[in-house]
Amino acid sequence: MEREQFTLSAEQRKALFNSTNERSDNILQKFLLGSFVLGIIMAFVYDTWLVAIAVGGMSLIAYFGTKKLLPESNLYQYVGSAVLAIFMAQYIYQLHGLFEMHFFAFVACTLMITYSNWRLQLPLFVIIVVHHATFAYMQFVGVEGIYFTQLPYMDLTTFLIHAGLAGLIISICGLWGYFSEQKIINDGIRALKAEFVLAENLKIAKTIKEGDFDSELATNSQDPLSEALSEMRQFLKENVEREAAEKYSSQGVAQVSRLLADINTLGKEIGWEKYIDKILNLLSTHLNARQGTFFMLNEKEEEPMLQLLAGYAYEKRKFIKNKIPFGEGLIGQVALEKKYIIVKDLPEEYFLISSSLGSAHPKEVLAWPLIADQKLVGVVEFASFNSFEEKHFNFLEEASFRIASTLANAQAQERTRRLLEESVALKVSLEENNQKLEAQADQLKESEQALRQQQESLLDANTELEAQKQELETQKKALIEQNEEIESAKAELIQKAEELEASNTYKSEFLANMSHELRTPLNSILILANILADNKGERLSDKDVEHAKVIHKAGSDLLTLINDILDLSKIEAGKLDLLMEAVGFDEVAKDMEMMFEHVAEKKGINFEIEVDEKLPNYFESDRVRLEQIIKNLLSNACKFTNKEGTVKLGIQLADSSANFKNENLQDTDRIVSFAVSDTGIGIPKEKQAKIFEAFSQADGSTSRKYGGTGLGLSICVQLSHLLGGEVQLESEENSGSTFSLYLPLHAVSADHTPNDDQSLFKPSIPQLKNTDRSNSTILIVEDQELQNKALGQLLNRHNFHYSQTFNGQDTLTLLAEERKVDCVILDYNLPDMTGLDVLKEIRQIEGFHQIPVIIHTAEDLSLDIQQEINQYTRTIISKATQSSRRLIDEINLQLGYEDEEEEIVVKKKPKAKKATKTTKPKISKAKKTGSASTDSTFLKDKHVFLVDDDMRNIFAISAIMESNSIAVETALNGKEALEKLEEGLEPDIILMDIMMPEMDGFEAIQRIRKMEKYQSTPIIAITAKAMAEDRQNCLDAGADEYLSKPLDTELLLKRMEELLKNS
């Protein structure tokens, strides 16, 4: 408690001193009266009446007068003090300066102490000092007889001693007075304090009595009683609050229970939703919540959802979501955890918590799960502007459990009820159906009756019909007879058709056989003529060699003729399948240019190609067949045109109104024409129609002059029909002719769209898919002479033209001379410069910026050099066993040739024989094409077992083998071959003809493979049968290789060498 609060007011203070004052006043009054009386008595002794009465009387009057006039003031006390000093002076005067009278001053001082007011000493002191000083001064100045006295003169020292002592006495008395005063004041304050605390405690007690536990009370912590009281109050407060909370909870629960008890009656009466609404209202009101929502678990959906059923103080449409999945937002989280969540200190943007209670800014939001039997029934959420407290939770705990249980029960009941209703409804509808059925049965009975009547009348009609039926039956029999006749005619027809089919097959079989029969002797002729022309033994005269060459040429022509016949018969038999694809006009033009440039150059005629710009880039056709026609027409044109003449191929949009025989062309208005015109001999009008017939030329004598089979144009016409077009001829004798191929300009169908913009496999050069490799020239740059030659032979074997250089400088000079080169094989290590430098230079030469260059290297190039090379060419080939294969692969790819070999043949069984160590093939002088010898001595002294039924063939092949120092053993058919092998023949390689009597090649090969000894002996199958499936059949039978007649002797030797090296 602060001191200030207990400063005393003037009145209080006065009151404190009342008793003291009274007591002292009483003493003083008596003392003053006594003093007056003493003065009178003194007057008797010293005859000072006047002084005694006047001064004493005046003093009394002053004192009592002041006291009377100003009773409230202390002034009279001061007057009293002064009067006491005056009395002392009076006595001193009356007794003529009796020294002892000074003691009166001490008495006065003491008297003043009783007032407990040190200030009262002051008037006494002042007057004594003034009085003594005045008299001392008067004495000093010489006034005599002041007190009629005998008192000695008072010097300064005496005065100071007097004054000092008087001061000391008065000071002590004043000090005592002060202590006394303070004591009184302190006592007074203490009393006041005690009184106050008491009053406070009384007040606390009173509030407790009145049951007020909350009002702020000033409790004195120094006062134990007060503290005890406050503790008592806290205890009482908690008790009362607990009781209130329990009461709150129990009341709420009671209300809820009452409502829940009504679920069946009230729920039905007002509807489920309103009932839930009522529950929510009750909860919200009881929780003093501002808003509330009620979500029920909805398990009907695919995923359990919380469905909003009721809202308190909130319009439903304002709710953010009516359905909330588990885990989403507050509600979903509560549903997931099955524990309540309270959110306090909600942010302003309360939306961020996706609570169902929208945009309001409540202080707290509480979401509470409804759980019955540990299963979630629903979630309630409340928002309040107040804080949720313990009692709310207690209440919700209890209430939610009851609500949840009741709702769960109700739901279960509802389900049961619905099932019951459904079954009842089913029963009712069943009964209805039953009734309907009965009614129908009745109806049926009636209609049955009616039917019976109808039937009777029908019976009558029936007899009538019976008669008609018999009539019909007779007609039917006649029809059946006719039918049978037709049937037998049909069967006959089918049989005929089958016969036809068979004869067709026979025909193609015949053709195949015939081509075999024709090609086999032809094969021998060609090979032998070649050998003769070679004149290895130098025994023939030049003329003989010339004859041999003529024989070879004639044989070749005959072979072409046979091929043409085969082609034509295939077309006529409908066996030629077309491969429709996108064909580019430019590509066709380029192909033709490549093929005929040389021919024209050689013959000294001009060759021009013109492509109409109005044409699209592509059209749909069979490219191979199309080019076959144009090739044929062009080669005819070249054939019949003399030196200085002109051959021209024009590709353009044709006039659709022209006169076409072909229906396809009549129907379409987009037609392309490929016109081949020449300035040759021309064809007379009357012969123009005839020349399209097979084996016909304008003049029977022309064939002798110009060569050719006369089948070309027939094939062209047939092919043009196949492609949906036709060939027309315009010609004038001696001024030239124009053959025009007209084809419908079919747009490219989606299947055949050329994938130009497919970045994936964009070819850098057009895929010519040419097969005539002799159109391409490869430049070999290699400083090692042997290697250079070997590469040349490799290219030769694959029918490429090639040129050779041996260092970098020559290469660049050669290329700069604009020699026709399509691809360069460049050795990396050249004597004068590195391959990389040569490569860089080549790229500088006009026309060779893009030319394919293949780097061929024996050493491992570092990655740096590789990367530098790769800036100029992609292809680097390290010299290794397979590098020749890769070289050909890469050249084919770069120049767009088809692969020659479809697949690589791998021996299925491991070779028992040890691979013979091969010496590097010794390379002899490169031969011109067609040489029937190998450049290698590898095959020398090898043993070949030749199985063929045709003696001519045996003779021809033996001749080749012998000229290469290869030993030959022969057998005339499969059977004989097997016998010889069983006898112990050990050939290095077997050449097996397929078409043989007794046992054919397939069977023979299969049998040989079954013999353990010959499982791995290389076998090359040889057949003239130009049918596609043969190849696979041969390989399936166990052959390692397949070659067709007429035999390319060089290829045969090469294959033999390869197979023997591999084994």
Binding site: I876, A880, D899, E903, V905, V906
Partner: protein, 230 residues
């Protein structure tokens, strides 16, 4: 691989409405050393010697599983003295298989089978030249193992990692639906240098594939192809 041979993932196996991931559900990890020795014989005879003509061959094993095929190829390359200049990348979708593969360890349970395969593949030398067998398991020699690169890579999602001279993708395609197969094949082709080899599983025949025209078959019945386009 033809359409008819492919497994139809759109039917029957999943309930309607459920999400079907583009990942095949099970990718078999079945593998062994020189699995299908005839295959490796062919690879040894044809591919390895051809790879010698590449100055810096690169080999990619797609779906390498636990590495047996990678080890087999490494052995063939080592035999041809080609191993040290060849870059070998092996990828799989499943990390745990890669971890196993990186160990270079194989159970000895199949040792006999492995040795038979090894012999039948025609590899010269001894099995022990390439494996340590002392510790209760087979362990690829460290000189081989340390040059093998195993990485996690999803052939469907991931980009092509490089241009390769030879890509193995055996018995991976048929776990994917046909349209994904085409996607994967296009990616593989794109990752192949011209004249590079694509080694597929035996049944994964490209005869009827639109991509056939960019490839030639090395040997029928083996599904080993060589890229003949740019």
């Amino acid at each position: 691989m033809t359409q008819t041979q492919s497994i139809d993932f759109s039917k029957g196996t999943t309930a309607p409405g459920t999400r079907v991931s583009s990942q095949p559900r099970i990718i078999s990890g079945l593998t062994e050393l020189f699995r299908d020795p005839e295959y490796f014989r062919l690879i040894r005879q044809e591919i390895i010697s051809y790879l010698e003509t590449f100055s810096h061959p690169k080999v990619w094993h797609v779906g390498c599983s636990t590495g047996e095929e990678v080890f087999s190829m490494a052995i063939l390359l080592q035999e041809a003295a080609l191993f040290n200049k060849t870059d070998i990348l092996a990828t799989d979708t499943y990390q745990h298989r890669l971890i196993q593969a990186k160990n270079g360890r194989l159970s000895t349970r199949m040792l006999e089978q492995y040795q038979d395969n090894f012999k039948e593949s025609g590899v010269k030398g001894k099995f022990e030249d390439y494996f340590n067998t002392s510790a209760g398991y087979l362990e690829l020699k460290a000189s081989l193992l340390q040059r093998l690169n195993f990485f996690r890579h999803d052939i469907l999602q991931g980009a092509s990692p490089n241009t390769f001279s030879c890509i193995f993708c055996r018995n991976v395609l048929f776990y994917y639906p046909p349209e994904k197969q085409v996607q994967i094949l296009e990616k593989l082709l794109d990752s192949l240098s011209p004249m590079g080899f694509l080694v597929l599983g035996r049944v994964e025949d490209l005869r009827f594939s639109p991509l056939k025209k960019h490839l030639k078959i090395l040997r029928k019945g083996y599904s080993i192809y060589q890229k003949t386009s740019f």
